[in-house]
Amino acid sequence: MEYAVEIENLSKKYPLVKRYRDIILHPLTQEKMAALVDISFSIYRGELFGLLGPNGAGKTTLLKILATLILPDAGRVRVNGFDVEKKPGHIKRSMGFVVNEERSFYWRLTGLQNLEFFACLNNINRYLIPERVDKVLALVGLKQEKNRMFKDYSAGMKQRLAIARSLLAEPDILIMDEPTRSLDPAAARSLRDFVRKELVEKRGKTVCMSTHNLHEAEDLCDRVAILHKGRLLACRSPRDIKSLLPATRVLEIRIMKEGLCSGDSVMEMFRRKGYNPAGLVEEGQKIKLSIEKYDISAGISGIVTELADMGFTVTACLPRETTLEEAFDKLVEE
């Protein structure tokens, strides 16, 4: 089977909470809000797949549907070949959901006691539980900390224990809802490495993760799906998504300003010439700024000459590749 997850024309609406007036005046009607609208895409086996989108885009709803916690209204969703509505038990056997909620553990129990409890609920034979728990604790680097109460774990350790829990049943597919959300940069980087190198590359797991962090998605994911207001805007590799802005680049310029002209007047001069300046940084006589939506096919010699004519000494003029963030902004804007 080629696909780990297959989603066809998935739609989901949530009922809105009624006001007292509506309960009395319209007791039988129910207003609904669309969370997902006609979504279709698939995730390959062994792929690290990212779900991107602003708040309210429908990422968590989609992940919870995959985890069989929410039922879809329309469409078809299969995880590991099993339909989420008809075979939730089969799905739970082959998929681990990394619940991004530190309260999803028992705080007064140790990490070990928590994992033993969840291992039992995952139908692991009681004679195999110690070995399996030990294995996942070692995998996430918490073996030394296993006898500490969960409440005494750091945010990074809690997140690692959540991953360990999801690995107890040795699932092929892992679903993660913003796994690096509450981590500091070092812990987030360590977790990203673990997911990419250990889970995907070494163990061949399929990982589907949602994130707000576009740099993280760009670095980590094989493909990403961009959701906005419940609709799928794109589903490609980060490189392909960036290529949606083909002829435009960002040009980073560093100049020495002459005389007493202010940064604002420099920006105004660029605008009058028809450019889109942004990100102005002034350090004494040095000015750094970006020209957005610059047509790189025209080359940079023209703008350098123009800047010299305007009286600036150009110290650097570097075309920079479009980031996923810029492509994301453009897609959402459109």
Partner: protein
């Protein structure tokens, strides 16, 4: 069985980690008993007709009423408690992602409150015998067990109906409110049903706890044989036969609705 034990182990580990609360709970048994012991002292010497079917003394009557009604209330409250606690603590989502179905989670998680409740009943009765001079003469243990089991299943069914309500509406459960309030007032926990006006006595017959306490007192205080308990056994069997399948059906519908509305783990 392994899952039941896993829940039990989890609950014991959690309970023991809150040491002061554990000690406080033990003391909580003694204080209400002392209160009713002194109330019963007030009544000493006076002949109260309505207490005659239960041996004539108020303290054994109220001791059984408090001990068993508190146990039966556990059956009523434990299921909603399990769901709402797991929702507010945030563990429900993690539990639902395991390979264990929600009804199994619910039943396994309810075992600890039931065992704790049973220990409390034994402590109540032991305290009554050891410190307050209560005597149980020839109690009918078999009858007591039959009545208790039927009552627990019947009350648990009501508890599951209540949990279904909580699953969908989250708060303000009328089932629980109606049953606990009416049971406390009308079913003869603190005073015999016979002292109430006729119309209230008739209303009390619709409440399962009335029949439970009547059967338990008859078997424990008077040693009544099974034949004399047949009325209570029939009523409780009938209620259980209706309420148990109804509660399981309502619960499965409530879970489906919560999954459809996306509110399964919300509170």
């Amino acid at each position: 069985m392994a899952k039941i034990l896993a829940f039990l182990k989890r609950d014991v580990q959690e309970m023991l980690s809150y040491k002061i609360a554990f000690m406080g709970e033990l003391l909580g048994i003694i204080f209400p008993l002392l209160t009713f012991f002194f109330v019963s002292k007030l009544m000493e010497g006076s002949k109260i007709e309505s207490l005659a079917p239960y041996g004539g003394n108020y303290f054994p009557f109220v001791l059984v009423g408090i001990a068993f009604s508190s146990y039966l209330m556990i059956a009523l409250y434990s299921f909603t408690g399990i769901i709402s606690t797991a929702q507010t603590n945030g563990t429900l989502e993690a539990l639902l992602c395991t390979q264990t179905d929600l009804p199994v989670i619910l039943l396994s998680a309810s075992l600890f409150p039931f065992i704790r409740g049973a220990v409390n009943v034994l402590l109540y009765l032991a305290a009554g015998v050891l410190f307050f001079n209560v005597h149980f003469v020839n109690p009918n243990i078999a009858g007591l067990l039959i009545i208790s089991i039927l009552t627990v299943v019947c009350f648990a069914s009501i508890g599951i109906i209540s949990a279904s309500f909580i699953m969908v509406f989250k708060k303000g459960d009328p089932v629980m409110w109606l049953f606990s309030s009416a049971s406390g007032l009308l079913s003869g926990v603190m005073y015999p049903v016979a002292i109430m006006p006729g119309w209230l006595q008739k209303t009390a017959q619709w409440i399962p706890l009335t029949h439970s306490l009547e059967g338990i007192r008859k078997s424990l205080l008077m040693g009544a044989p099974i034949a004399r308990l047949s009325g209570e056994i029939k009523v409780l069997s009938l209620l259980t036969a209706v309420l148990l399948p109804l509660s399981l059906f309502l619960f499965s519908q409530a879970v489906r609705k919560a999954k459809k509305d996306g509110t399964l783990t919300q509170f």
